[in-house]
């Protein structure tokens, strides 16, 4: 006997917007969550609240003004953004910075990794309702901010990279002060790692929330600590060995659990690893000449060609594509692909099956950096139509 009648039972879903008023970090992103009772059945990621047109702005400004403009793509990862862009220019110009400059660049970038990872762990503590821990971590984060101020001249906006080197040098006194700050910071980070491992509140809220399997992480091209938390050993510092990463020893931290807790633990371990790298770099800082090039003597026009540089930012692999036409003082095209772009937009699958209260936790564990995301609307002038490229197509995920 065949089927004669199909009865469809409608699933009653409620549409619940999480955001756009800072669902995780204080940045605007909208998670439209459809829930059946408490359980999430579908999630959509809507961005576009923070579009500033930086890539277009880069085409309108000179190569050297762009170094400071790309640093403002994202406040918290400004040194890696400018480092990646500057290295793309160096590949075109065939300039190599000296060893001291390469070490100082690594120092600036690792300081940034330390304070970024501490920030997102603090925010995670706040999201799970543990505000005391948030304040404690933020207080200790001030130490690395101070170290960054000593090195670069500003707590957050480093503006440290320039073609052919860095923009200021450190002397012995500064070196000792930075080392003292890092040595004071290290036991605190170890302590916070222990709190994250042992505290009941955190374990109850984070373990088994937002699990990403290794296969899912690779098929959706997730990068950075999110992929490493799922056991994928991906790190451009190891694969590219740019700057001084070929000389400074470090381990790539991976965890196999794949849940929110594993991602946060990867960040704590990377913070410790970064502190060790900074101490090593300060210890072995080479003295092969002046790392600060004279900015007045740098070439104004970059030879014709295209270059592609990538860097391991705190949130994952960050890439810059620079196209030069060889005539103008402005770049013809600058294309930025940020790690949050992959991680946040391609991760809507992760929320399905979670309870509603766990959604902010899962989102925070991705370390979203919204100001990096959202790029394109295509306007066809011939047909006079507008077409919005879907974020999935842009991020290159499988349909």
């Amino acid at each position: 006997m065949g089927v004669t009648k199909v009865v469809e039972i409608p699933v009653v879903t409620a549409e619940i917007p999480i955001g756009p008023q800072h669902p995780a970090l204080h940045e605007p992103v909208l998670l439209k969550v459809y829930s059946d009772g408490e359980e999430v059945v579908r999630a959509e990621v809507n961005t576009g609240y923070n579009h500033r047109g930086i890539e277009k702005l880069c085409e309108k400004n000179t190569y050297y003004r762009d170094i400071f403009i790309v640093a403002r793509v994202c406040g918290i990862c400004n040194a890696v953004h400018s480092n990646c862009y500057v290295r793309a220019l160096e590949y075109l110009l065939d300039i190599k910075p000296n060893n001291r400059a390469r070490y100082l660049r690594v120092l600036a970038m690792e300081f940034e990794r330390i304070h970024s990872h501490m920030l997102i762990n603090a925010v995670m503590a706040e999201i799970v309702g543990f505000d005391t821990l948030f304040m404690q971590i933020m207080l200790d984060r001030e130490r690395v901010m101070k170290a960054k101020e000593i090195l670069t001249g500003n707590r957050v906006m480093a503006d440290y990279m320039i073609v052919g080197g860095v923009r200021r040098d450190i002397d012995e006194i500064k070196r000792d002060r930075i080392r003292d700050l890092l040595l004071k910071l290290k036991p605190r980070v170890e302590y916070y790692k222990k709190v994250f491992m042992e505290d009941e509140t955190i374990i109850k809220r984070l373990v088994d929330v937002g699990v990403i399997k290794p296969a899912e992480a690779t098929s959706r091209s997730l990068v950075g600590p999110v992929a490493r938390g799922s056991g994928i050993k991906i790190d451009s510092r190891v694969s590219d060995k740019y700057d001084a990463y070929d000389e400074i020893p470090f381990n790539v931290i991976t965890r196999r659990e794949g849940d929110s807790w594993a991602r946060m633990m990867v960040r704590w371990d990377e913070t410790l690893e970064a502190i060790n790298m900074c101490l090593y770099a300060l210890e072995k800082l080479p003295a092969d000449g002046n790392p600060v090039p004279d900015e007045r003597r740098l070439p104004r026009v970059i030879p014709q060609g295209e270059s592609y540089a990538r860097v391991e930012a705190q949130r994952g692999e960050l890439t810059y594509y620079v196209l030069s036409d060889g005539k103008s003082t402005n770049p013809y095209r600058v294309k930025i692909r940020t790690p949050s772009f992959n991680n946040v937009i391609n991760s809507a699958f992760m929320y399905i099956g979670l309870s509603l209260a766990d959604v902010p936790v899962a989102l925070t564990s991705l370390d979203p950096c919204v100001s990096c995301m959202e790029r394109v609307t295509i306007i066809d002038l011939e047909k006079n139509t507008k077409y919005k490229l879907t974020l999935k197509e842009l991020a290159g995920s499988r349909k």
Partner: protein, 133 residues
């Protein structure tokens, strides 16, 4: 029930001085050489406009030096860079690019106030000082 892990820390913090800095009354400690307000020393400036061209934030506008100031002969166009600090991002590109090293750097950071801060007073005061000597 287990003892909370942060209890010891919380007790220690009860007797410690607060970490919060009461900002307007109490200044935040900054480094000697941290990047703060910068302005052109008009006794050195030649009015070449390079800093205004290079500024990534378009914060520098070349402005005529007002009447009554003794302008050095090396500044024939009698203009000086006026920095709008509300636009400035303090990247110090102008400081590094200046061909005559005319910029004076400070670590002053508290420029927020009821009026728009710019470098007019700082820059013109360098000319005043020079004329007094």
């Amino acid at each position: 029930m287990k003892r909370p892990k942060l209890l010891e820390l919380a007790l220690r913090n009860l007797v410690r001085k607060p970490a919060t800095i009461q900002y307007p009354r109490e200044k935040t400690p900054v480094e000697e050489d941290s990047r703060g307000v910068q302005y052109a020393d008009l006794t050195k400036c030649t009015g070449c406009t390079l800093c205004a061209l290079e500024c990534p934030a378009d914060a520098i506008k070349m402005t005529p030096i007002p009447q009554g100031y003794g302008v050095p002969a090396k500044n024939p166009r009698k203009i000086y860079p006026l920095i709008d600090y509300s636009k400035c991002v303090f990247c110090y590109r102008c400081v590094k690019i200046c061909p005559v090293n005319a910029y004076t750097v400070t670590n002053k950071y508290d420029i927020a106030g009821p009026t728009r801060a710019n470098s007019e007073e700082y820059s013109l005061s360098t000319l005043k000082k020079a004329s007094m000597q």
